[in-house]
C-alpha cells in the first residue's frame, strides 16, 4: 500500500477513474467513513452550541475542575474519574487497533479476543459515566439548573456526555454482534475488513471523547 498512497498526483487519477473513486476501499468501509463524517458534524455542532451558550450566558460558569473532583487518599483530586475514563477509552482504542491487525492477519481467535476486550473497556467506560452522572445528580446538578452558576452547565453536560455515552453503548453492542458473527464464520469468505469497519467506529468514539475532554472538562 505504500506506493499506492504516494503522491498527490493520485488524487486526480482516482477521482477521474471509473468504477471506484476510493481505490481498494470496500463498500462498507467507504460507507462507515462517510457516516463518521456526518457524525463529526453532529458532535461539532453540539460542541459549538455549548460554546455559544457558555459564552452568551451572563451567569458565572461552574469550575469543571472542582465540580468533577473526587476524594482520593484524603485529598480532593480534580478530574480524577475523568482522567481514568480517558485512559480507559485509550486502552480500548489500543485493543481495537490490535483486533484490526489480527483480523487482517486472518487470526480469527485473537481478533475476537481483542474485540471482546474492547467491548469490555467500553462497558467499563459506560459504567464509570453512570457513576459520574449519579454523583453529579446527587450533588444537585440538573439539566435545568445547578447550585454553582449557569443552568446551561448541566444542560450541556448531560446532553453531550449522554450523546457520547449512547455512541459508546451502541458501539459495545456493535462490537459484540461482530464478534459473534466472526465466531459463527459469517465473514470467512471476506478479508475480515468488517473488523476494520467496526474499528473505525470505535476509534471515532474515542476521538470525540478527546474533544469533549478538552472543551468541556479542561476549558
Amino acid at each position: 500500500m505504500a506506493e499506492a498512497s504516494a503522491g498527490h498526483a493520485t488524487i486526480i487519477q482516482d477521482w477521474a477513474s471509473d468504477v471506484t473513486t476510493f481505490k481498494g476501499v470496500p463498500w462498507g468501509k467507504a460507507m462507515m467513513w462517510i457516516f463518521l463524517l456526518s457524525d463529526t458534524f453532529i458532535f461539532s455542532i453540539f460542541l459549538t452550541s455549548y460554546m455559544t451558550v457558555r459564552a452568551t450566558t451572563a451567569e458565572p460558569w461552574p469550575n469543571a475542575s472542582e465540580v468533577f473532583s473526587l476524594m482520593a487518599f484524603g485529598h480532593s483530586v480534580p478530574l480524577l474519574l475523568i482522567a481514568i475514563m480517558t485512559f480507559d477509552l485509550i486502552t480500548s482504542s489500543g485493543t481495537m487497533a490490535l483486533a484490526v491487525n489480527y483480523g487482517y492477519r486472518r487470526d480469527k481467535r485473537k481478533a475476537i479476543f481483542f474485540i471482546c476486550a474492547t467491548a469490555f473497556f467500553g462497558a467499563v467506560f459506560v459504567g464509570m459515566q453512570m457513576f459520574e452522572w449519579y454523583k453529579l445528580i446527587s450533588e444537585g446538578v440538573r439539566p435545568w439548573g445547578n447550585p454553582w452558576g449557569a443552568a446551561q452547565f448541566g444542560s450541556c453536560f448531560f446532553m453531550i456526555t449522554g450523546f457520547h455515552g449512547l455512541h459508546v453503548s451502541a458501539g459495545v453492542v456493535y462490537l459484540l454482534i461482530i464478534a459473534y458473527r466472526l465466531h459463527k464464520g459469517v465473514y470467512d469468505k471476506t478479508n475480515f475488513e468488517i473488523v476494520e469497519i467496526v474499528g473505525l467506529y470505535w476509534h471515532f468514539v474515542d476521538l470525540v471523547w478527546v474533544f469533549i475532554f478538552a472543551f468541556f472538562y479542561l476549558w
Binding site: F22, N191, L200
Partner: protein
C-alpha cells in the same frame, strides 16, 4: 474484495502510538493544574490536536489511505471552523447586549474568556 486490500502494519507501531497517547493524555490532564491563561488554552488545544491526529492517522489508518480519501474526509469539516468562528463572534455580541441592557458585567475581573469579551 481483492485480497491485497487491507492494512498490514507491524504491531510495534500500535504499541508505540498507544504509549504516546497515554503520555499526551497525562500531559493534557496536567494542564488542569496550571493557571488559567493563554498558555493553558494553547496547551489544551495542542494536546487535543496531537491526540486526535494520532488516532485518526494511525489507529484509523488514514495516513495510509490514498489522498483521494484523505482530502474527501478532511476538507468538509473546515465548514465547521467557519461556523465556530462566526458563532463565537455572535455569542460575544449577545453577551455584550445582555450586559448593556440587563446590568453590569457580573465578573469584571475574570480576564479574557474564549472569544475575548
Amino acid at each position: 474484495m481483492a485480497s491485497e486490500v487491507g492494512q498490514q502494519h507491524p504491531l510495534t507501531l500500535y504499541f508505540w502510538i498507544w504509549g504516546l497517547l497515554f503520555v499526551v493524555s497525562a500531559a493534557s490532564y496536567a494542564t488542569d493544574y496550571m493557571e488559567a491563561g493563554y498558555l493553558r488554552w494553547f496547551l489544551i488545544l495542542a494536546f487535543m490536536l496531537i491526540k486526535a491526529g494520532y488516532i485518526v492517522a494511525i489507529f484509523m489508518h488514514l495516513k495510509y489511505e490514498r489522498w483521494a480519501l484523505i482530502y474527501a474526509l478532511l476538507l468538509p469539516p473546515l465548514v465547521i471552523l467557519i461556523l465556530v468562528y462566526l458563532m463565537a463572534t455572535e455569542a460575544d455580541y449577545t453577551w455584550l447586549t445582555r450586559v448593556v441592557y440587563f446590568g453590569d458585567d457580573p465578573y469584571p475581573a475574570r480576564g479574557p474568556m474564549p472569544g475575548a469579551h
